[in-house]
Amino acid sequence: MLIFATMIFGAHINEYYYLATYTILQFVVLGTAWNILGGYGGYVNFGTAGFFAIGCYTTIVLNKIFPMPLFFEMLVAAVTAGLVGLGTGYLTLRLRGVFFSIATLALAIVLQTLIVNWSFVGGARGVYVIRPAISGMFISYVQFLVVLMIGLATFSVFVAWTVEKSWIGIGLAAIRDDEAAAETSGVPSLRLKLIATTMSGAIMGMAGAPFPFYVTYVDPATAFGLAIAVNSIAMPLVGGTAAWWGPVVGAILLGSAQQILTVTISSAANLFIVGILLVVFLTVAPRGVVGIARSLKQRRR
């Protein structure tokens, strides 16, 4: 306890806290992005890791052929992942329910296979990335990445909030409840779903773009990691998919729990605890923290 407090309030903040914060923020972004399609529209995407990896490898490729500031690399990653989202959406959104989910999983596997066989980006061996020098404002590159992630998390939450409150969110909610009835009510379901997959994919790609500089070594197994896909689904579900702040709460809750467990017990307990929490929440509070908060609010009235 004493050591813990010294670590936090010590003269200089341990770099570990930056790394932990970065990871949690990254999952705020991924969970929020997943929720635009999965939570609002009811289409469960198992392929988050695929879009995330597109972001990673966009940065890696750009760094090799045409280095530019990370911010621009994130924009290119957003466009690339957004286009892949649009393409997958166009090919798979006529599939319903579990078939769509399997198709997204297949997409991630296809992409992983492509990357594994692409030696320019390191293939299965992986690739080292050298962090550029930092400008004077920041103490370390990691600190810069955390600030960048705070910006991206704010941006993605803002996007999700805007979508939720707009005609897009209302249309997606109608699609989630009953797609045929939505169509009959004039909701252009295919168009709305394509908007959602594109936005969702683009934000996931942006989340992946800074990742190579965070880890400095990327291989397909990390970029396409199971933890990414699982966390991006578990966090919105635990937090609640009905409101923009659900994935944020879920990411902070699960993300911090994972960090604490990694430090105190072992990193292997990581996904284990996610699994347990997911099962507990799905049985006890299927609508997540948002659902609990809403029913408390109703009871008070």
């Binding site: 249309g171 939505a182 009959t184 004039g186």
Partner: protein
């Protein structure tokens, strides 16, 4: 000009070899009230699904308000003024009753102001007798109320043609009269209506013309009294 507002010709629809509809022709004139009857499983709902774009017919063509719409997606047909109810109510369960009605107001009609939409929704809920339940979840509604919600949601799309698929099932006699009165009023305002119903009293009272479908084929189409006198109809529909 007494143009046909909705016209289908040669509609054939098969499900895995089973012919649900065979070469069905169908016409609805502007301002007309048509009753569509037939035994359960005769293909009435399949016809409605083809007309509204939920299903694509294997053969045949459909035109609506002088537009060819055979390949037009369902949402665009709704936007152009072709509304329907579902035989088995399909409410948006995550929304309140009012929000259910607001969806077509926003999408099919194209209103953008939240206040206009809410006001219009309440007017429609008043019409179908659900205004007291506006803020409730559809989960708390009875079957009868759910049918009224279906009707309300269809009306909210401000249709030129309304296809009412068994909106009166399970309703009491006085409630049937209430709905009939509403449908007649809508018809007087210029909406063409196709009524699919098992309650013969309602069909006979309401329809200017009756179409009978049996086993996917149209076997009669004419004035209610003439149609009901046909031997074929009597045999197939009302029993030997």
């Amino acid at each position: 000009m007494t143009a046909n507002i909705l016209e289908a010709s040669g509609i054939t629809k098969r499900f895995d070899g089973f012919a649900a509809l065979t070469n069905v022709d169908f016409v609805l004139s502007k301002g007309e009230r048509v009753g569509l009857i037939g035994p359960n499983g005769s293909g009435k709902s399949t016809l409605v699904n083809c007309l509204t774009g939920i299903l694509a017919p294997d053969e045949g063509s459909i035109s609506f308000d002088a537009y060819e719409i055979t390949k037009t997606p369902a949402w665009l047909r709704a936007k152009r003024g072709l509304a329907r109810t579902y035989q088995i109510p399909r409410p948006f369960r995550g929304m309140s009753v009012r929000e259910n009605v607001e969806v077509p107001l926003r999408f099919a009609v194209g209103h953008t102001s939240a206040r206009t939409i809410t006001e219009a929704a309440l007017v429609i809920l008043e019409q179908v007798g659900l205004v007291a339940k506006a803020e409730l979840s559809p989960k708390g509604l009875t079957q009868v109320e759910l049918r009224k919600l279906e009707l309300g949601r269809a009306l909210a799309a401000q249709p030129k043609v309304l296809i009412a698929d068994e909106v009166m099932a399970g309703l009491s006699e006085s409630e049937v009269d209430e709905i009939l009165e509403l449908l007649n009023r809508l018809n007087a305002e210029g909406i063409s209506i196709m009524l699919i119903e098992h309650i013969m009293r309602a069909v006979m009272l309401f329809s200017q013309r009756i179409i009978v479908i049996v086993a996917g084929c149209k076997i009669a189409d004419g004035l209610p009294n003439d149609v009901m006198k046909q031997d074929e109809v009597e045999r197939a529909y009302l029993g030997e």
